[in-house]
C-alpha cells in the first residue's frame, strides 16, 4: 500500500510539473462563451486565494503554477484520506 501511495503521489506531482506547459487556449465552454458573447456574464463571487492556478506572491509564472498545483494535489489527497478513514470507522 505504501508503494502504491508513493507512486500515485509521484505520478501526480510529475503531472503538476508539466502544468506550466499546458495549453493556455480557452477551454470548450470559455470558447463558446466568447463566440456567442456571454463570457462577460461570468463573475467571481469570492476571492479565491489561489485564483487561476497561480500562487500569489510568486512572480515567476512557471513556479507559481507549479506551487498552486502542488498545494491542490496535497490538499485533495489529505482531505480524501480523512474522508475515507471516517467512512471506514463509522461502518463498524
Amino acid at each position: 500500500m505504501k508503494k502504491l501511495i508513493i507512486s500515485g503521489l509521484i505520478i501526480s506531482i510529475i503531472l503538476v510539473l508539466f502544468s506550466p506547459f499546458a495549453s493556455s487556449f480557452p477551454d470548450g465552454l470559455e470558447k463558446v462563451s466568447e463566440i456567442f458573447h456571454f463570457s462577460e456574464k461570468g463573475q467571481s463571487l469570492i476571492n479565491s486565494p489561489i485564483s487561476d492556478y497561480s500562487f500569489p506572491f510568486v512572480k515567476n509564472n512557471f513556479l507559481s503554477t507549479i506551487i498552486a498545483g502542488l498545494i491542490g494535489v496535497i490538499m485533495i489527497f489529505i482531505l480524501l484520506l480523512i474522508f475515507g478513514n471516517l467512512f471506514k470507522r463509522s461502518k463498524i
Binding site: 501526480s12 499546458a22 477551454d27 469570492i46 467512512f87
Partner: protein, 214 residues
C-alpha cells in the same frame, strides 16, 4: 467545462445544488458499504491524480483547449459512490481555492463532471462490458467519451434554461468541441484502466462478471 458564476440563473443553480448534494448524501451513505481497507488511500491518490491531470489542458480545434475530467475513471476504480465523493472534493477545492468553477454553479458542475461520469459513464462501461467482453480498452474509451459529450450536453441545457444562450446556438458548438475533447478523455481513461487491470487488478472496484468485469 467548469461553469463560472453568472452563467446560470437562480432556479437553475439552486435546482442542481439540491440534486447534486442529494446525490452526495446518498453517496456518503453507500460509499461506507463499498469501501474496503485500501479505499481511503486509493481515494486520495485518484483524487490527487485527477486534480493534477485536469491542470493539463491540451489544444483541440481553432484555438480551443480541453482537459481530462476523470469521472468515469473514478467510477470504474472506486465504484460510482466513492467515485462521486472524489469528484466532488476535487470540484469543491477547484471552486473555493482556485476560482475554477463558480460557487453557485457548483451543483451544476458536480452534476456535469461528477454524477454524469461516475454514474452514467460507469453504467455505460458496465453495459459495454456485457456486450464486448474482451473490449476493456475500447469500452472505457467509449464510456468516457460519452460522459464528456453528455456532460457538455447537460451544461448547454443548463445555460439554455438560464436564458444565457439558446439551445440551437449552443448545442452544435458545445457538443462539437466536446466530442473532440472526449477523445482525450477516452484515451487517458483507457490507458489508466488497462494499466491497472494488468498490474493491480485487486484495486479496481469492478471484478465479478455480473458487475461486467472481465
Amino acid at each position: 467545462m467548469h461553469i463560472p458564476d453568472g452563467f446560470l440563473d437562480t432556479k437553475t443553480w439552486a435546482s442542481f445544488w439540491v440534486v447534486s448534494f442529494g446525490f452526495i448524501g446518498v453517496a456518503i451513505k453507500k460509499a461506507k458499504e463499498e469501501l474496503k481497507e485500501k479505499s481511503a488511500p486509493l481515494m486520495g491518490i485518484i483524487g490527487a491524480f485527477i486534480f493534477a491531470a485536469q491542470m493539463l489542458n491540451f489544444p483541440v480545434l481553432n484555438g480551443t483547449s480541453g482537459h481530462f475530467v476523470g469521472g468515469v475513471l473514478a467510477g470504474i476504480i472506486l465504484g460510482p459512490f466513492a467515485g462521486l465523493i472524489v469528484m466532488s472534493v476535487v470540484l469543491i477545492i477547484q471552486s473555493l481555492l482556485f476560482g475554477d468553477g463558480g460557487i453557485l454553479a457548483l451543483g451544476a458542475n458536480i452534476f456535469n463532471m461528477g454524477i454524469i461520469g461516475t454514474f452514467l459513464g460507469y453504467y455505460i462501461f458496465i453495459l459495454l462490458n456485457k456486450i464486448f467482453k474482451k473490449g476493456l480498452f475500447l469500452n472505457s474509451f467509449i464510456a468516457s467519451w460519452f460522459a464528456i459529450v453528455l456532460g457538455s450536453l447537460s451544461c448547454t441545457v443548463q445555460l439554455a434554461i438560464s436564458k444565457t444562450i439558446p439551445l440551437y446556438l449552443g448545442l452544435p458548438s458545445m457538443v462539437g468541441i466536446h466530442s473532440l475533447i472526449g477523445i482525450g478523455e477516452g484515451l487517458i481513461t483507457s490507458l489508466v484502466v488497462s494499466f491497472l487491470y494488468k498490474t493491480r487488478k485487486d484495486l479496481i472496484f469492478i471484478k465479478t462478471p455480473d458487475q461486467g468485469g472481465l
